[in-house]
Amino acid sequence: MSMEVLGYKVVSDRKYTKSDEWVKIENDIAIIGITDYAQRKLRNIVAVELPEINKEVRAGESIAVVESIKTIADVYTPISGIVTEVNEVLMDRPELINDDPYGEGWIVKIKIKDRSELEKLLTPEQYAELIKEREH
């Protein structure tokens, strides 16, 4: 299930952040990527810097860098925990974030430490509202 907000795709099976990451929860793992809105603002993504596996991260911390020709952007984790997996495929094919931001373009997986942090995330509807406000 997904909706389009001013041409930007927002999928309904996950949560969002004010800094344009999405978070999909699978049991005790949070999969994190950047939204369609974010990739469209960045345009051609040419490089990604990923964290090390087993790294302990705290909510609000920058855990990856996405670089487009135009600019450089941090990816912040809204969830504290341990990095269990990174999307290595992005090292050779960073454009997957442009092509499929909610699927093959995922960035990291984190083992959730504190489930209460999930409550602070935005619902798809709230994130859609945020896009509307920004593009107003």
Partner: protein, 385 residues
């Protein structure tokens, strides 16, 4: 928000010229919006940065044909019996053999220290009429520079800023001649590199000038016409197969060729020798900046402009201000960088101390605290086709 980090970095596409109060926008902005462009500000001018995919736009210019709106560039007319004398005094290139209908350049205006006021293209329009195209960021500066010298040497010359009178398009790529022919500019097909013709017609409307020139390293044409005429030509060019291209592709195309961008790669404190930018004729004397340049020629330079080709597979971009190191020693700084869509790796230009200006030397560029390997190379990064 997510994109905030970028603000910490020096971005060539968002820089406003110093002392530039007025923000311009290109007259065809609404057309660019309708074409789906992402807009941005370059040198104080709001214009099209890309039309969705700068990498594909770049490749279209290398393999086929693309069309750019380059109206942001400055256009200044210099007319009158002393126009030649004025220009001859201000540019370091020998213009004594220039012919009507030919462009001269790139050449430059230098300050008394031989630093770049700007790099420009001169157009000899005949009958004491000249025009120049300068960088957007320098329009006011060059206009006043010309005015100032006109007074100082009492030249019988009028200087007119035509920048906002006309729009300017660049049609670039190996198929640009086919497109020019399709557009009905048969007369322009005979032009050789850096030749131009004036007073053409397009569907009953006047086109001021078409030259065979560009800034991409490919064959191409540049068209100067009133905005309403340029709009029709741009639309028709796209209809006939040209890919609309924005300034991001223009930047990566020029970088692959090693062409410099004013205020990034050259400025008032950089000389043609340091930049290895051959905008001067060695035998010419007596122009503004000559003494300083001649002195530097004898004494040598402390730093040299070089290219850096990052190791295969490295895609992070060395950007302006990043340090170039050998071992633990900083030997230079990056002035421009991009991801080369043709080489599929990152490339950059910058200045290194002349002690380390050794082509082939392995260096590292510090990018966000990490050292990434590359090699010093000469330009262009790709072979001219």
């Amino acid at each position: 928000m997510f994109l905030v980090k970028a603000k910490r970095f020096s971005m060539p596409f968002s820089k406003l010229p110093r002392g530039f109060m007025k923000m311009r926008e290109v007259p065809l902005l609404n057309l660019h919006k309708a074409l789906g462009a992402s807009l941005g500000i370059f040198a104080g001018v709001k214009t099209a940065m890309d039309y969705g995919n700068a990498l594909e736009e770049h490749i279209a210019v290398r393999n086929s044909v693309g069309v750019f709106d380059i109206t942001h560039m400055g256009r200044i007319a210099i007319k009158g019996p002393d126009a030649y004398d004025l220009l001859n005094y201000l540019v370091p290139k020998d213009i004594s053999k220039s012919q009507e209908g030919r462009m001269i350049g790139p050449t430059a205006f230098l300050n008394e220290k031989a630093g770049f006021k700007d790099d420009v293209m001169l157009y000899n329009m005949g009958n004491d009429n000249w025009m120049l195209v300068c960088n957007a960021i320098n329009i006011e500066k060059i206009y006043s520079w010309l005015k100032q010298w006109t007074q100082k040497i009492s030249a019988r010359v009028t200087i007119e800023n035509l920048t906002e009178t006309y729009a300017m398009l660049a049609i670039q790529g190996p198929k640009s001649a086919d497109l020019i022919s399709t557009l009905g500019f048969e007369n322009a097909l005979d032009l050789k590199h850096l030749q131009f013709i004036t007073d053409l017609e397009y569907k009953g409307e006047k086109v001021f000038l078409i030259s065979r020139s560009g800034w991409t390293g490919e064959d191409g044409f540049e068209i100067i016409a009133k905005p309403n005429v340029a709009e029709c030509i741009l639309k028709e060019a796209i209809k006939k197969g040209a890919r609309p291209c924005g300034l991001i592709a223009r930047d990566s195309l020029r970088l692959e060729m090693g062409f410099v961008l004013y205020d990034n790669d050259i400025d008032e404190n950089t000389t043609p020798l340091e930049a290895r930018y051959w905008v001067f004729t060695p035998s010419k004397t007596g122009y503004v900046g000559y003494e300083a340049l001649a002195k530097q020629l004898e004494e040598g330079v402390k730093r040299v402009k070089i290219g850096i080709r990052m190791k295969k597979g490295i895609r992070v971009i060395p950007r302006r201000g990043y340090e170039i190191v050998v071992g633990n020693k900083t030997v230079g700084k990056v002035t421009s960088g991009t991801f080369s869509p043709i080489l599929r790796r990152s490339i950059a230009m910058g200045y290194v101390n002349s002690t380390h200006a050794l082509m082939g030397l392995e260096v590292k560029v510090i990018i966000r605290g990490k050292k990434y390997p590359g090699k010093l190379v000469d330009f262009p990064f790709i072979k001219k086709r």
